[in-house]
Amino acid sequence: MFGAFPPGLILILGGLLLPLVPRAFRSWAFLAPPVLVLLHLSGLEHGTQATWSFATYELIPLHVDPLAMVFGWIFALVALIAGVYALHLRDTGQQVSALLYAGSGLGAVFAGDLFTLFLFWEIMAFAAAYLVWARRTRESYGSAMRYLFVHLFGGSLLLGGVLWHLSETGSIAFTQFEATGAAWLILAGFAVNAAVVPLHAWIADAYPRGTITGSVFLSAFTTKTAVYTLARGFSGWDVLIWAGVLMAIYGVLYAILVNDIRRVLAYHIVSQVGFMVAGIGVGTALALNGATSHAYTHILYKGLLFMATGAVIYATGRSRMTELGGLFRSMPAVFWFYMVAALSISSAPFFSGFISKPMTIVAAEYADLTSVVLLLHLASVGTFLSVGLKVPYFTWFGDEPARPVKVKPLPWNIYAAMGVGAGLNILLGVWPDPLYAILPAGPVEFAPYDLPYLKKGFQLLLFTALAFFFIVARLRPKPKVQLDTDFIYRTSGGLAWNWTVLPVVRFFAWWERFSWEAAGAVARVGQDPAGWLRRRFGRLLPTPPAAGQAYPGTESAALRGSMTLMMVVLLVTLLTFMVRALF
């Protein structure tokens, strides 16, 4: 179907055509492009390539290989599920940008060269920022602008790296990089999108402020596209092992502190992507398969987590744990959907995370990275502690908040989307073979349901739960915000603005005002130059005589005649001199 047409462009074209669909059908029409992409992907063969000529370069907008296909499948699938979740939405701007966002994510994944990748990378940043901005509050406006600035900064690093790489090697092909300066610059660009600490603060800033449906989309594409690019270009780079471990621990520590339920999830994206980044850093076949499969399951369970917390926010109008509590009686179904996702992210046996996260850790075990293994286990404990225990405890159980919660009914499509998400998470947990069959780094030499792994999974989670119930009172969230690295640009941003942008703005404002006033003055003078001269210098000129009268002192005809004669002689002399001088 569609031959060698880039699947990302199907979503992007769909997004551009969507406003033409009558409003009543627009939400349903949203589902058509993802379905078309799924059909298209099922017909794409590995090795398929499309090339477009651009200037002197051969661009490769479609390059199909196993790694790209894994991400392609899950991107299209989650776009479809999130589309169902957004069926009640009547906001064309959000729907269009969601399709552009998903489409550019897919486009980046299937990009065979670095220019195409960069192009989709930038579209993705703008479309994602719109999904935050679409809430149209002062807070989300600022957050979206910061998101955009950070990602444009990352994009510039990427472009700088790509051009440098091009000048050194003469190639724009996107393959494994050697350790050159250009590669480090490209790595920094990817690291911004992968939310590598300390470049991660945009995620905790923007994702809790997106719209309810927007954040479901946001959770899926940006970081996982970056994981894909890291896996393609930087597998086996040792620096990624420690960057990943740092992310995994850093994310869970902040998640224990924060109060907003979607901010907990945002910090857990940092943590979970840390597992993937570490796996890519280890770089063995098992580790790459682990990182890729973890990205796949992560998109499924993180989408479900954002759907369930979005449902809570939709129904109650609140997002802070200090203002929530005791919702189990009014929202039991959402609780169970949430728990499926929470157990998946905690890699509990029989849920999706169990078939992917342990694979990454076991790969680190085989590589004899003892401290990495221990720290990743610690991060796993933290994941279950905050996503699996703390958030559900303080949202659905715990004390009821001082201000009573009114729970509004949810649209049916929200339940439907969560049901599909939960079903897929359980299905994948008990039947991982279809996913294992498409993993990029060869056959999977890992059986998650061997007894040692089951023992590990059960013991880690159950004893974490035991400890949690002893210290639960101390884990009560506080109505506070926590400083993170965005502190640097959120406080110095004003200074930078005052010193760099404001002087320029002020100069142009002054110039604009000056030009307008000058033009106005010239127009005023030009209307009646003699009148203007008279008004301006009237005191220096003789008062003009009345009509038919001569100037005072020129009444004598003889005087007038001689003056005229003198004038004529003067002019003729002048003319003669001019003619002589010229010829």
Binding site: Q459, A467, I471, Q482
Partner: protein, 111 residues
């Protein structure tokens, strides 16, 4: 987990997970090969992380909620719009410039 049933279920599960140690195991090579390592890791990890976050990071990093400027007071999540702007008002509505704005920002919304 206030109910007795919950406690009993958790207790049985805890014991059950420890019983999984009994089938034949190879001789320990790494620290995680010792019996009940993951049970201890669960408890100690939970305590360690909680202490790090609540005891060390929280006193240093906590700020009041309006540290970066006032929070949006009222927002209707159901229609996903602030009270003034309808959901289909497109990009035309500029965000209200609340008083006490923390940083300078462009005068016009990015329509």
């Amino acid at each position: 987990m206030k109910s007795t049933v919950g406690k009993v279920v958790l207790g049985i599960a805890l014991v059950g997970s420890l019983l999984l140690e009994f089938p034949a195991r190879p001789a320990p090579i790494h620290v995680w090969d010792y019996p009940a390592f993951y049970a201890l890791a669960g408890i100690l990890g939970c305590l360690l992380l909680s202490f790090m976050a609540k005891g060390v990071m929280s006193p240093v990093l906590d700020r009041s909620e309006d540290f970066y400027g006032p929070e949006d007071a009222e927002y209707d999540w159901t229609t996903e719009s602030p009270a003034a702007a309808g959901p289909e008002s497109g990009g035309r509505s500029s965000p209200s410039a609340g008083s006490g704005d923390p940083g300078p920002r462009p005068r016009r919304g990015g329509a």
